[in-house]
């Protein structure tokens, strides 16, 4: 694998971006905190779900939301890179396209995972302040939830890169990206329980792969889930594998 150094190079570059453009991280975690405090706090004052405090209930959903937005919108950098940046230099190097995809995917995922770490710290503060009673923040739950979040992140970053590799303008990417992200987010049950849905809505919810991420994460962090956790995990793993495969293919077909 002579491409390992190249993959490392792509990852290294993303970490530098993060070190040097810290405003990106700050901006990206403000939104989830607002969701948690305002939607969670506002609705939570009247709503509780199956005896669970609403803010506690949406904490997993807010984490997944962060993964969705941050990972998929990472794909926009590919669109920029195609025009002005670093990608051309990478494409003409001896690295294979698969390795380039993997390097970009790991790099982008690192961004998201960093945000998730920060949100866990924020979550711990909220928990200590009594805002989210009943969240499991023991080491085992943390590790399991990180596994869920990591797989989801890989899948969503790949999806973002697939979109990015097909798009020509950043504006177009924003549009299509939003078109993909919002339905996936709203259908996922991040904000509502999925065990008692209207008949017309249920199929859409169960077709959304993000549903299983949210459900699994809720199982791990709160101890309540609609499906067995292993079932959630299997589906999200399969979805991730499919995204990585399609992404590799899309990168091979990408032209400059």
């Amino acid at each position: 694998m002579s491409d390992l150094k190249g993959i490392y190079a792509l990852w290294y570059r993303e970490t530098k971006v993060f070190q040097r453009e810290q405003s990106r991280i700050v901006a990206s975690i403000v939104n989830p905190i607002l969701w948690f405090l305002i939607i969670g706090g506002g609705l939570g004052s009247t709503v509780s779900i199956e005896g669970i405090n609403y803010q506690t209930f949406i904490f997993p959903g807010v984490l997944i939301q962060t993964v969705l937005f941050s990972s998929i919108f990472f794909g926009v950098y590919i669109v920029w890179d195609k025009k002005i940046d670093f990608l051309k230099e990478v494409i003409v190097s001896p690295m294979g396209r698969t390795s380039i995809f993997i390097g970009k995917m790991i790099g982008g995922s690192t961004d998201t995972i960093l945000q998730i770490f920060i949100l866990f710290i924020v979550g711990f503060l909220f928990f200590s302040a009594g805002l989210m009673p009943g969240v499991h923040l023991d080491p085992l739950s943390l590790i399991l939830s990180l596994v869920f979040l990591l797989v989801t992140t890989f899948a969503m970053t790949s999806l973002g890169l697939i979109l990015g590799s097909q798009m020509e303008s950043p504006e177009g990417f924003q549009l299509v990206g939003s078109f993909v992200i919002f339905p996936m987010f709203f259908l996922s049950g991040a904000l509502f329980p999925i065990n008692n849905l209207p008949k017309w809505l249920a199929p859409f919810v169960f077709l959304d792969p993000v549903t299983y991420s949210v459900d699994g994460l809720r199982g791990v962090l709160i101890g309540t889930s609609n499906f067995p956790i292993i079932y959630d995990f299997t589906i999200i793993m399969l979805f991730c594998a499919a995204m990585v495969l399609i992404g590799t293919y899309a990168f091979k077909k990408m032209r400059f």
């Binding site: 040097r20 230099e89 190097s93 001896p94 020509e168 400059f256």
Partner: protein, 322 residues
């Protein structure tokens, strides 16, 4: 041994051959200029030679390797400096080179040694820890030049290396290109539409028009082959036939509302020509430049200024049309 050898290399978009059965040989160690107006096919040729775009038919060998069957190995043996900036603004100059070393899988000690060497070669040693965002356009081009060389490529492609630079930076880049050609002993392929650039840098040039090479040779020889001097005339109502009947007038061409004559020994025959054409508004006599060579073979002037888009734009444009 040829650094580049194309065999009926063809690229077709929309039923037109943008590159049309191109057969071209570039010798080892020369600086070769591919000259042509916008849309002549030079960028497309470069795209194919650097394996970024597959030819419709035909093939080529770069550094002895087939661009279709051995594309990975071709990419390892070539360096490229793009028309558009392709270094990372967030990183420093040094980090950009370090990343390049990793992408080309260079051993660490060699990588560090080469970074020091190429930085010195382009005079950026002092600025290596500055972020590229703060570099000037010329510095950035020099960094990319250094980067293209770092992994000891056998062939270095420079796509419009001084496009968009001010005249002073342009001169600097030319000086660096000459220096590195001498010190690194590699073959350099330059695409350009600046005649002056080709004249100053290239050992040989090929003028490409409508996807074909129309003429090939050293700038000196091409100019000499025109066989005389250029007289540019602005006159009212010229009788072309009379002019053509003079045996020292080799060629009469219209150029932008004026007439360009190719004349053997112009200083001797100027008076006779002036007598023959009647009332003259202006006249200019000079030895031929590459612009004249270009005009002679393509019947058009090559114009500075309006640049082609980058590779990416060009291909995306082509794909959008499909």
């Amino acid at each position: 041994m040829f650094a580049i050898e194309t065999k009926d290399l063809t690229k077709r978009y929309d039923k037109t051959n943008v590159v049309d059965n191109l057969n071209l040989q570039v010798r080892d160690g020369e600086i070769f200029g591919l000259l042509g107006p916008n849309g002549a096919g030079k960028t497309t040729t470069l795209l194919m030679l650097t394996t970024l775009y597959p030819p419709t038919s035909g093939t080529a060998k770069v550094a002895g390797l087939d661009i279709i069957k051995e594309s990975g190995r071709v990419r390892k043996s070539i360096g490229i400096v793009f028309q558009d900036p392709s270094s990372d603004e967030i990183l420093t100059g040094y980090e950009n080179l370090k990343l390049h070393g990793w992408l080309y899988d260079m051993p660490d000690d060699l990588k560090e040694k080469r970074i020091t060497e190429v930085l010195a070669l382009v005079g950026l040693t002092e600025k290596k820890d500055m972020r590229v965002r703060k570099y000037s356009g010329g510095m950035r081009r020099r960094l990319e030049l250094a980067r293209g060389l770092m992994h000891h490529p056998k062939v270095l492609f420079l796509d419009e290396p001084t496009l968009g630079l001010d005249p002073q930076s342009r001169e600097t880049i030319w000086a660096y290109i000459k220096k590195l050609a001498k010190e690194e002993k590699i073959t350099i392929i330059i695409t350009t539409h600046y005649m002056e650039e080709a004249d100053k840098l290239c050992d040989r040039i090929g003028i490409i028009d409508h996807g074909r090479i129309v003429v090939l040779g050293s700038p000196k020889k091409l100019k000499k082959d025109l066989g005389g001097d250029i007289i540019r005339l602005r006159v009212r109502g010229l009788d072309v036939r009379t002019l053509r009947s003079l045996k020292y007038v080799m060629k009469v061409q219209r150029c932008e509302g004026e007439y360009c004559l190719t004349v053997t020994n112009a200083s001797k025959h100027l008076q006779e020509i002036l007598n023959a054409v009647g009332e003259v508004k202006s006249v200019e006599v000079r030895s031929p430049t590459l612009d004249d060579v270009f005009m002679h073979y393509t019947g058009r002037a090559i114009r500075e200024g309006q640049a082609e888009g980058g590779w990416a734009d060009k291909v995306m444009h082509a794909m959008a049309k499909k």
